[in-house]
Symmetry: C2
DNA sequence: CAGCATCCTTTATGATACTG
DNA sequence: CAGTATCATAAAGGATGCTG
């Protein structure tokens, strides 16, 4: 018999291992702007400037950089139309939709439970 | 009639708003070590050094700092026993168990789908 | 053991200017 | 429009030494 649970047996990466590449993927997905990109793209395809307008506070540089990281991991598709002015569309890949489901579940929880969290802070501060 | 979906009506915070405090909560929860702490504590109460040993690569400083942020938000309990040498136990609060569920779902997805992600990278690099 | 304080290095992020 | 390049700053992270 084994001491490892089913989820442990199915696990191909290990976030608790210092050098595991899963940590880099986690970093991309949970990065400040990565989270917002993944959530925003659930509403469908977006252009660069649409995303930028939607996500309060991103600089062009960080948006481009975050998009590239997510594209690199295969979570988003980048389609460029060779017209002038340029037209580029970003969307979730099937793999991206899966992570996005999890990321959005977390993001939604935080948005909906923000009052409870802020209340907790006050309790502890008292 | 309304144009807002149910989830929008129930949303008390908005991560897309630049100054919304939900962004800080998200930062704590999705931070490099915050994620690992929340996942690790699902196995039950841990002492400081237990956590440190479990999480490959954390420094004392970062572990303490990350624990404080999560405690501040009310996600973890810190119980200190006034003995010598010191004995401190960390555990999830009910609120913490809820975020932890979402964080762990994301973490597990990444661990289990790491091969697919790495394969995607190769495809694009080719 | 469980930290905190300090100093130092590395990333992350931002502002600005420029280009196909 | 959709970026890239550069410069500058802030934040994250780490190493070391000290303490109740």
């Amino acid at each position: 018999m084994t001491n490892r649970s089913l989820s442990e047996q199915l696990r191909s990466g290990n976030l608790f291992a210092e050098q595991c590449p899963s940590r880099e993927v986690l970093k991309h997905v949970t990065s400040r702007w990565g989270v917002l990109i993944l959530v925003a793209l659930r509403d469908g395809t977006h252009r660069f400037s649409d995303l930028r307008r939607k996500m309060g506070g991103v600089s062009e540089k960080m948006l481009a950089q975050s998009l590239q990281a997510l594209e690199y991991d295969g979570f988003i598709n980048r389609v460029s139309y060779p017209v002038v002015p340029p037209h580029v569309e970003y969307s979730l890949t099937p793999l991206g939709e899966q992570v996005s489901d999890r990321v959005a579940a977390l993001a939604d929880w935080i948005e909906m439970n923000l009052p409870q969290v802020l209340a907790q802070r006050d309790v502890r501060a008292a």
